[in-house]
Symmetry: C2
Subunit: 338 residues, 2 copies
């Protein structure tokens, strides 16, 4: 959900993501080869539908974290590359299922797979990619990383189920929201970085550091993403604004704006979010309310705190190049929102 916007927000060559990409360029090309080899199937619909999403310009941020973490601890061979491909397959599978669940029309600026091929193939190809991810992990022969990613996968699914409850529900608390973000976004960021360190044989304390980096970066990213959905400026960056609002998702900007709302504004939120009856001009009004109440500023402040934790987590990473690139990515994530 995040990588596409990042890709568009960054000018080629000048983003810290590109810098990190450069540090693991050979492994990333190998990962891309594994991804394309392993999404192959005699059933043509499987690679067709998979390629539609996998080749749609996502930044491969999660496999990038896996490769970066592995490289920081001197990984060689092919296992960390297979893991990186597995992580991208898990992510792609969740996107395919997400888009069916949300009845999304667009994904990364293209018509979503569920619209092109229908819900049935999207569900089943998601299942296929998910299974392929586990096949790749089994090939590494590393039970530790299998455990990390199996656990992350069930946490992601739990987060997605949790999120269903918060739609149309202004009773959603900050705690509920953070639990969803932690599960549906941060868990895979954390597992991607952690698994890379683990497969490269990093010491346990540093494996945990990479986990913490991914976890905090994931939350910061999602917070900024949710703020951008109410940002007027965002249209400039190629992101469609108002998706969450139109789907009546209760994200942190809404939670904070509702807490601080006047009676009139509360009536507005209840109609627009709880009853789901929205009018043409509602998005503009919502943007004004989240700005006026300081909800966007506050969401950014939270994101900043998580990004700082991410930065602190990698302070002791042995490889200075990788460490600096990871730090820059955490800072870059915040700049997206300003």
């Amino acid at each position: 959900m995040i990588t596409a916007e990042l890709a568009k927000a960054a000018k080629p060559g000048d983003s810290p993501i590109d810098t990190l990409y450069g540090l693991v360029a050979e492994d990333m090309r190998a990962t891309d080869r594994v991804i394309h080899e392993r999404m192959a199937s005699a059933v043509a619909l499987i690679p067709d539908l998979s390629a539609h999403l996998i080749d749609s310009g996502g930044k491969r941020l999660r496999p990038l974290l896996t490769l970066a973490a592995a490289t920081a601890f001197g990984a060689s061979g092919i296992d960390h590359v297979k893991l990186a491909a597995a992580v991208e397959f898990i992510h792609t599978a969740t996107l395919l299922h997400d888009d069916v669940v949300d009845a999304s029309a667009l994904r990364r600026g293209k018509i979503a797979a569920n619209v092109v091929w229908g819900n049935k193939p999207s569900i089943l190809v998601g299942d296929f990619l998910f299974s392929r991810a586990f096949e790749l992990m089994v090939e590494t022969g590393n039970l530790g990383v299998l455990g990390i990613l199996a656990r992350a996968s069930s946490v992601i699914a739990e987060g997605e189920v949790m999120q269903l409850k918060s739609a149309n529900n202004l009773g959603t608390t900050e705690q509920d929201y953070l639990a969803v973000v932690t599960a549906k976004t941060a868990a895979l960021f954390a597992a991607s970085a952690e698994a890379g360190a683990a497969v490269a044989g990093a010491p346990p304390a540093l494996v945990k550091s990479l986990h913490d980096y991914g976890h905090n970066l994931g939350i910061a990213f999602q917070l900024i993403d949710d703020a951008l959905d109410y940002s007027g400026r965002e249209k400039l960056m190629g992101k469609s604004v108002g998706d969450d609002f139109r789907e009546a998702k209760v994200t942190l900007p809404v939670i904070l704006a509702y807490q601080r709302a006047t009676d009139e504004a509360r009536r507005f939120w209840r109609r627009a979010i709880e009853s789901g009856r929205q009018e043409e001009s509602d998005l503009e009004a919502a943007i004004v309310y989240v700005e006026q109440t300081g909800a966007i500023r506050e969401t950014h402040a939270r994101a900043e705190a998580y990004a700082e934790r991410a930065i602190r987590a990698v302070a002791k990473l042995p490889s200075p190049d990788i460490r600096n690139a990871l730090i820059d990515i955490a800072e870059f994530c915040l700049r997206r929102g300003h």
Copy 2:
């Protein structure tokens, strides 16, 4: 898809499935405990929806195969029990996704989960159970069985995607049909039995025997199941007849009947299956056509050949009790159709 019908077809205590159940009764109770412990989640919807399907009277045939195979080779401890629970989770996940894909109204005689809770939770809880299955497998620490079941899972998904193409399509060949049945049904039967033998440390030749037993039994079961869908007698056995026909699925009885059809009958099949315009009396006509052309008899004959292969596959199994029960189950499978 099969176990519910089997459960109803068998009088309690007199089916060979019950006999096998008796031989692994303690392990099966332990499997049930693991299943219920591991479908727990702080997100209440997950155990609620899971229990709706898991406690709906399925016969646990796949975990039964895992436990039987493991017991035949003297398994002790808890690993084969965890695997059996994992196999049931994978099966349950595929049923949840199947019912969304087919827009099913009923499952095992109860209102389907997708009708009670909607498609979204069904998709996501399926993902959760699938991930939990892998967590359980990781706990066994056995990479060999992880590989067997990861591979089976991607083959199942491939089979389900393949099956989409055969709906409304009278160009479906026997070979297409067998490829679908092998992937979507036989692969998990085969992997369930194989994984049980492998985790118990059976010699490779006998691990393969168990695989072959499950594979052939799975095909035989599915063939009989597809024949029963066109059987007038079947209403007596509590099965709803005509589901495949109404969904315009091209199963072997239809393929054979269409091959042997008169011009008039061909027009009937094209209208009912290809155009999907069905009338009230069409199911009765379809039943007459599949009977008259010998398509049902022929489907049974094929099932018999697969059941015989299943029986031959376990001829060298060391445990006579388990061996005989497995043989009886293969024979029992055919009796369902007469």
